[in-house]
Symmetry: C2
Subunit: 153 residues, 2 copies
């Protein structure tokens, strides 16, 4: 069931924590084979013997995608998301390895009504993706356009 | 065949243009169903009648992934890529629609040897993803750690 909250119902400082997702070796190789087939993402022997990380690591694109999948699963903006203008300061802080279980903590940083379109506003938020040792593996600052509650428009 | 170029062999201002990739309706729905299942990415009827774009559009995560797939296909950093510290200023400039054929123009903006590790340097580059009407759909500023040519280390 999606949240029925609109732009007007959110506040800066709100935090959300997702469920977990375990990143398997198969998932790392399958994702990378399609989108980012560098040897340290798809060749376990190379990664173990010649790579810089002592073993396979997930593509950063995979970690970004998994982060969003966990965020979208809770449908926080289910009723009101229009689109995203972009991301800033995407940081691949630590490698993600086979078997790591990730979760995402999302904090709303700023909410600003649109100056030109009275039916919407922009939220800026930070996704912080952590492993089971509470180490940060990824941070993303994202902006999303949200619909205002129809009565308030 | 991968390029055998190392950090020392690249210059700021170099530009690379990828081959094309057509983003089908199936690909849009399949990608979004896995990673970004918002209705304007997976429900063609909703997208046509109730969405803001008059039809299905690709997830921004899909466009980012396709952009990298096109970039990696040419294996420009095939011999020397170590990892990426992050992306900045990811901008979803225009929607990507079923049937759009994308290509990526990549420009090297800056190359800086590592201050602490003599075997590597950092390249900053901009990927600009265009459709067949030469409209920009996505820009990404990415940084990548590259190995220096072994003799120069």
């Amino acid at each position: 069931m999606a949240s029925d909250r609109y732009f007007d119902d959110f506040r800066a400082g709100e935090r959300f924590e997702s469920a977990g997702l375990t990143i398997t070796e198969s998932a790392i190789i399958d994702f990378a084979l399609q989108w980012d087939p560098q040897p340290f993402h798809i060749d376990a022997e190379y990664a173990r013997t010649a790579g810089d990380f002592g073993g396979l690591i997930a593509s950063g694109l995979h970690t970004i995608s998994a982060t969003h999948r966990l965020w979208f699963a809770d449908r926080i903006f289910g009723a009101c998301a229009i689109a995203s203008p972009g991301f800033d300061e995407v940081r691949f802080v630590r490698p993600v390895r086979p078997g790591d279980t990730l979760r995402v903590v999302t904090e709303l940083l700023e909410l600003r009504p649109s100056a030109s379109k009275p039916d919407r506003g922009v939220v800026k938020m930070r996704h912080t993706t952590l492993n089971r040792r509470d180490e940060v593996v990824l941070t993303i600052d994202a902006r999303v356009l949200l619909r205002r509650r129809p009565a308030a428009a």
